[in-house]
């Protein structure tokens, strides 16, 4: 499988309702050991946008990109209901679709990723 | 050597929408005015250059006059090729072509002189060009 197979795939919740599509994939370096020197980057979760168009340009990551103010506000307004789906909530990949094991209302907002870290 | 230039200029003017057939008197008149403007601009350049003759190098003057002669000729060919829609327009066209063809003759005459040696009578040429420029401008103002 390739990463591009995940990006842009439609995401449906447990009731089959469309949540959006995959905009980015969060990787954490705690996967299997590669050649006994370093851990692999494992897929930790999916960042799912409701809207079909546009990229996030990194503005979903709270502290790393702050400005310019207007661009940030525009991108965030365009993607205000962007969600984060931990891999544990993914049920299976069915063809091009990604099916979740939870209902839409249980999904976390992407901004929770960073507010969590600060606390 | 430079035969391609008028053709290129003509092509450019076609693109710019100058050579489409004239639909009515007013359209023809506007075409005449813009032709007068183009020739007038070139005539004035030549006047300035010939007036400053002593300060210019010969190769430069030659290039300038060559381009000017081709430009005026190009506009004349172009405008001469437009069919006047009425008799009144035809008269107007002839009136303009008389001046622009005179301009073409003067400029190519100056070019011949520079090719051979230098402009023989700069102040006379400047006077003549100034007159041509003046009448072209008046034509343009009257018909725009």
């Amino acid at each position: 499988m390739r990463l591009s197979d995940l990006l842009g795939s439609p995401v449906r919740d447990s009731s089959g309702e469309v949540v959006g599509q995959v905009a980015d994939v969060r990787l954490v370096q705690d996967g299997p050991l590669l050649r006994q020197v370093q851990h692999a980057f494992r897929v930790a979760g999916l960042i799912v946008v409701a809207r079909h168009t546009g990229r996030l340009f990194g503005y979903e990551r709270g502290p790393a990109i702050k400005g310019p103010w207007l661009v940030k506000v525009l991108v965030r307004a365009l993607h205000h209901n962007t969600r984060y789906v931990p891999w544990e909530q993914v049920d299976r990949i069915d063809g091009a679709d990604i099916l979740l094991r939870v209902p839409k209302r249980d999904l976390a907002h992407v901004s929770d990723l960073y507010s969590e870290r600060i606390s | 050597m430079r035969k391609a230039w008028p053709a290129v200029l003509a092509g450019v003017l076609v693109v710019a929408g100058c050579s489409s057939p004239a639909w009515n008197d007013r359209d023809y008149e506007l075409k005449a005015a813009s032709s007068a403007e183009a020739v007038g601009s070139t005539v004035e350049v030549v006047r300035l250059a010939v007036g400053g003759d002593g300060r210019l190098t010969r190769p430069y003057l030659k290039v300038l006059l060559t381009n000017a002669a081709e430009q005026v000729q190009g506009v004349n060919d172009q405008f001469g090729g437009v069919q006047p829609p009425t008799e009144r327009a035809e008269q107007l066209g002839e009136q303009l072509l008389k001046v622009t063809e005179q301009a073409e003759k003067v400029v190519s005459g100056l070019l011949m002189e520079v090719r051979r040696d230098r402009v023989k009578d700069p102040s006379g040429a400047v006077r003549e060009l100034a007159q041509l420029g003046e009448s072209l401008r008046r034509f343009q103002d009257d018909h725009e």
Partner: protein, 409 residues
């Protein structure tokens, strides 16, 4: 002296942007039709290009990444390819025009038909890009282009009515016999010329070629703050010369020979010689800048090894790109299409593509992953945002205005 030589990259870049063949004639044309009433656009352009060139130079110094790396990285492969396609097309057309311009300068000096000079000019330019070190190239042609300062001298000698020039400059509106759309069309052409994307392609890649690091941030800034205002000054001097000599005579400049006429009248044969040298150096330098930029942008999009800091065989695809571009451009100009027309159209098309280049620069200049502590401050961000809004407006208006005014007729 060494410090002075360090800013030749900025000077060469600015020459390619403000006084390459299209702009030389466009500035004179604008001066002869509108006087100095469009001077504000040049000033605006200087500020705009300074803001974005400073960002791209800073990014290159801190991260080692040039502008087209950023375009692909932030816009992704599709929008990046759209930008690459548009930019590359414009670059090839511009290379053709610049080769033609350098040949026209030789024609003015010798009286030899310019088409005869085209192959020699193109071959010489290719040889320089193939063999000459980047620093040498940028110094020789950056400094030689400064001969265009003769326009400032000539303006002085022409003894213009300064009060009237100032009056025109301080009343930004079209003269009576010109319409507002035409005025705006030329405003966009001038702004597009001042902020052509290949300036930041070349400037940031040049920074990488010179192996800038964090320690060179002040060098980068000096390049920007001296080079571009100098380019703007030359461009204003050209317009002022035309406004002084040609505007009162109702001349509408449309060729190189007409454009240098005020200098010849103001500063005599020496002036004429210098201005022809300056035009040649500027257009030849612009040929190098634009042709190298075509290699930079294609290589950076696909991730190929690029640059003159390695042997040509180590960057084979980069050098092959330049070679092909030079061959195609030479063939194009030998078809006798008018080089000046070509750049005037491509200026407007490049105005339409401006935001696609400058938006990624603005975003990455704010990205701490790239810039660490050197991210944009409030000043750069405010100016950058204002220009972004302006550029979006310009890119929407550019092509409709071109069609409506029949390219400024």
């Amino acid at each position: 002296m060494k410090k002075f030589l360090g800013i030749t990259l900025g000077i060469l870049t600015a020459i390619g942007g403000f006084v390459d063949i299209g702009d030389l004639v466009a500035n004179a044309l604008v001066g002869s039709r509108f006087g100095m009433s469009l001077a504000w656009v040049v000033l605006l352009g200087v500020v705009g290009i300074c803001v974005f060139a400073e960002m791209s130079g800073r990014i290159a110094a801190v991260s080692g990444r040039a502008v087209f790396d950023l375009v692909r990285e932030r816009l992704g492969p599709r929008a990046g390819l759209a930008n690459l396609g548009a930019s590359f097309f414009i670059l090839v057309m511009t290379v053709a025009a610049e080769i033609g311009g350098a040949a026209l300068a030789l024609e003015l000096a010798t009286g030899l038909n310019y088409l005869l000079c085209v192959p020699a000019v193109a071959f010489a330019a290719w040889l320089v890009m193939w063999r000459v070190r980047f620093e040498t190239l940028e110094r020789v042609f950056g400094l030689a282009g400064l001969a265009l300062v003769i326009f400032v001298v000539a303006l002085w000698q022409l003894g213009p009515d300064w009060g009237q020039l100032w009056h025109q400059a301080s009343h930004p509106a079209p003269p009576q016999d010109e319409g507002v759309p035409t005025y705006l069309y030329y405003a966009i052409a001038l702004l597009g010329g001042a902020m052509t994307p290949y300036e930041v392609f070349f400037f940031s890649s040049g920074g990488v070629e010179e192996k800038w690091t964090r320690r060179d941030l002040s060098v980068s800034r000096a390049n920007v703050l001296i080079g571009f205002p100098l380019g703007g000054l030359l461009s204003l001097a050209i317009a002022a010369c035309a406004a002084t000599v040609l505007l009162p005579a109702h001349v509408q400049v449309d060729s190189l020979d007409q454009m240098v006429l005020p200098v010849a009248l103001g500063a005599g044969q020496v002036g004429l010689g210098l201005v022809i040298l300056g035009v040649f150096a500027a257009t030849f330098g612009a040929t190098l800048e634009v042709a190298l930029s075509s290699g930079y942008s294609l290589s950076q999009y696909f991730g190929w090894q690029w640059g003159k800091f390695v042997r040509p065989r180590e960057a084979a695809r980069f050098h092959a790109t330049i070679l092909v571009v030079m061959v195609v451009a030479t063939a194009l100009i030998l078809t006798t299409i008018d080089p000046i027309m070509v750049t005037e159209y491509s200026l407007v098309f490049s105005a339409a593509a401006l935001p696609l280049t400058y938006l990624p620069v603005l975003m990455i200049a704010n990205d701490r992953d790239y810039m660490q502590d050197k991210v944009n401050g409030i000043f750069s961000n405010t100016l950058g945002t204002i220009f972004m809004i302006l550029l979006v407006a310009v890119s929407i208006a550019a092509i409709p205005l071109m069609l409506a005014t029949k390219a400024g007729q």
